[in-house]
């Protein structure tokens, strides 16, 4: 099953374009189409089954005291030697069929890898547990038995209810992103609906007033939004049903999923930044979404992270204290905290000028020069941009504590990120011409999980923070990973 699914994913990702000419040939030639489709389908299924069975037969793994050895590949051989002490996290997936057989698929994350380094499909649950324990110890010692594991299962620090699933579904903006993608095609969709109504003769002899028409339009929009919201809630149930978050010694573990159970775990020492997000709806629900980011060398936005889909402010701080321990005892991730210090108001002028006034004036004057009417409309961008910049400036804030920093930013919602100074990889101070004149600077913290920016602070303060961070990084004897 695992290799069959992997082969299908591989084909859909890499070979879809190559299959297009085959499909065209299939439809272009004459004769019985259904017969040809059945033939091609059978052949494709046969190839997929053969490839999957071969991949299964050639897959071998061995677990030694300090590493996991994997050997796979029919023609192109791949050998993996994953050291236990290099593993950042062990994640498991268990679908309904796997649950019947008591097996799970285990994937290993190692530092800086773009994707999961390796995976062991359909191994017994007890073996997955013992691997998890070995990883925590860096290998070497024998694993406990599954009975002991069950007996030692700690109570969850967070368990989500069905109401929480509704909250997650409603606050997930992916459904609305879909709506935004469909936006440009609204005319085509409208035309298609019109054609459908005409072809079925639904609107025959029907005369609508303006009010009725508008009500009809609003009803359609409401139905679309409700459908998207329901789909999103269903998605939340599928992915996060019975979400439990447990802390076991120095590991945080989550398990969730309606049909396929996903289990993620992360060692506290591996967390580089902890980020709490709160969009408009989450603000209304008084909840946060958390991300514990690990070391990653992939592009921003595609980083690996340990996610908690919903938690209260108190739970957010509690998780922060669990992760950072005594090093950041006074961590404060609440975006409304009074401890946040603002950045300099010169940020407003620079952003309004560069992002608002200059492009609006340029576009308007270009329209005027080329004789395009209505160019003045672009000037409306100036107050809109100014409003956005003002909101962003108000939300920028930082708490420089003794061991770590909390940075807050956002436009519609909030994004609050916390990190320990000793985990910083590089640090930079940048000054523009205008910042130099005003004695201001922008501070950049380069962490293994990404870059965090503190713009428009006093230059003297920036240098003090930089020197202090360097002192913490260079004088400490704790590893960053």
């Amino acid at each position: 099953m695992y290799f069959f699914g992997r082969f299908l994913r591989f084909v859909s990702r890499n070979a879809t374009q190559s299959l297009a000419p085959l499909a065209a040939l299939l439809f272009a030639t004459g004769g019985d189409l259904s017969g040809r489709l059945a033939l091609v389908g059978t052949v494709a299924l046969g190839i997929a089954l053969a490839v999957s069975i071969l991949a299964y037969l050639f897959f071998r793994y061995r677990i030694t005291d300090d590493s996991i050895l994997v050997r796979e590949g029919v023609f192109r051989k791949r050998q993996l030697d994953i050291k236990f002490d290099r593993i950042q996290a062990i994640n498991t997936r268990q679908n309904v069929v796997y649950r019947w057989f008591g097996v799970v698929t285990v994937t290993f994350d190692t530092a800086g890898s773009a994707q999961e380094e390796g995976s062991l499909p359909a191994i017994p649950t007890a073996l997955a547990d013992s691997l998890r324990k070995k990883t925590r110890r860096g290998g070497g010692r024998p694993a406990e038995t599954s009975e002991e594991t069950e007996a030692n299962t700690p109570p969850p620090i967070l368990a989500l209810t069905n109401v929480d699933m509704v909250r997650i579904g409603l606050s997930d903006n992916r459904a609305f992103i879909l709506l935004a993608i469909l936006g440009p095609f609204s005319e085509q969709i409208e035309a298609a609906i019109g054609e459908y109504i005409e072809s079925r003769g639904i609107a025959e002899g029907l005369e609508l007033t303006l009010v009725q028409g508008m009500t009809f339009g609003v009803a359609i929009v409401a139905v679309v939004l409700a459908t998207l919201a329901l789909a999103s809630i269903a998605g939340a149930f599928l992915r996060f049903h019975r979400f439990r978050l447990e802390v076991d010694d120095d590991v945080m573990r989550s398990s969730a999923g309606l049909f396929t159970r996903h289990e993620q775990s992360i060692r506290f020492a591996k967390v580089q930044t902890l980020e709490a997000r709160q969009g408009l709806l989450l603000q209304w629900f008084r909840r946060f979404r958390l991300r514990a980011k690990q070391a990653s060398s992939v592009q921003p936005g595609k980083e690996k992270h340990f996610a908690v889909p919903l938690c209260t402010a108190a739970q957010t701080d509690g998780i922060g204290r669990e992760i950072f321990g005594d090093e950041f005892r006074d961590i404060d991730l609440a975006p409304t905290s009074a401890a946040f210090r603002p950045i300099h108001h010169r940020y407003l002028r620079a952003r309004i000028l560069i992002g608002g006034v200059l492009p609006a004036l340029f576009t308007s004057s270009m329209c005027a020069a080329l004789g395009i009417p209505g160019g003045v409309v672009f000037l409306a961008w100036i107050p809109l941009n100014a409003l956005g910049v003002w909101i962003a400036w108000r939300k920028f804030g930082y708490i420089a504590a003794a061991d770590g920093m909390v940075l807050r930013r956002g436009l519609i919602g909030y994004r609050v990120g916390a990190f320990l100074y000793r985990k910083v990889q590089r640090i930079g101070i940048t000054q523009t011409i205008s910042q130099r004149r005003r004695g201001l600077a922008t501070l950049r913290f380069y962490l293994a999980s990404g870059t965090l920016k503190l713009p428009y602070v006093d230059h003297r303060l920036a240098t003090e923070i930089r020197d202090y961070v360097l002192y913490r990084v260079e004088s400490g004897n704790l590893a960053w990973h």
């Binding site: 860096g138 592009q299 999980s449 020197d467 360097l470 590893a479």
Partner: protein
């Protein structure tokens, strides 16, 4: 006798400051290398425009079309001012400072940037040279830290011997940084 645990307070004002370091300017050969690069780029643009004029002249020799392509020479002029002028202002702004526990790099004409990389965070060091670098006996040193999707620190145009010594020194410092997980 067993040593007592110590935790002396460090005043923030007393911390070593990266502002007061003695910056090491880049080697003068870097300026010459950059100017040579600018000269090559300028020659290619000039040759391209000259070639275009010759080709058009041949193509339109029998046509009585009054086309004046003299304005095209403004392109190498503008490019020339930019590419020759840029190293003259950019290179003097570049400098580095090697300290006991970190390396600092300063750059930027309009945006002044000072980046500090502690040795105990360096994953590996890469020394690279282009044919033009080798002509001027220069080398580039790239310092890789973890999670370098945002770009690692590159010090361009170091004399080859300095780059090699620096690489060995950094690797030595990286190797001596012992940390516990």
């Amino acid at each position: 006798m067993r040593r007592m645990f110590e935790n002396a307070e460090i005043p923030v004002e007393g911390l070593p400051s990266a502002e007061t370091v003695a910056w090491q300017p880049m080697d003068p050969k870097l300026m010459r290398r950059r100017l040579a690069e600018a000269g090559i780029a300028l020659s290619i643009v000039t040759a391209g425009i000259a070639g275009l004029q010759v080709l058009l002249g041949i193509a339109l020799v029998d046509e009585n079309v009054p086309i004046n392509l003299g304005f095209l020479w403004l392109v190498p002029l503008a490019v020339g001012i930019a590419v020759v002028g840029w190293p003259l202002v950019c290179v003097p702004k570049m400098a580095y400072a090697v300290r006991e526990r970190d390396i600092l790099y300063r750059s930027g004409v309009f945006w002044h940037t000072v980046t500090a990389v502690p040795y105990n965070r360096i994953q590996h060091v890469e020394k690279s040279t282009t044919p033009l670098d080798r002509r001027f006996q220069l080398a580039n040193l790239k310092l890789f830290t973890a999670g370098g999707a945002g770009g690692d620190l590159t010090i361009r145009g170091l004399p080859v011997r300095t780059a090699e010594k620096l690489r060995a020194y950094i690797l030595d410092r990286t190797g001596t940084a012992v940390e516990q997980a």
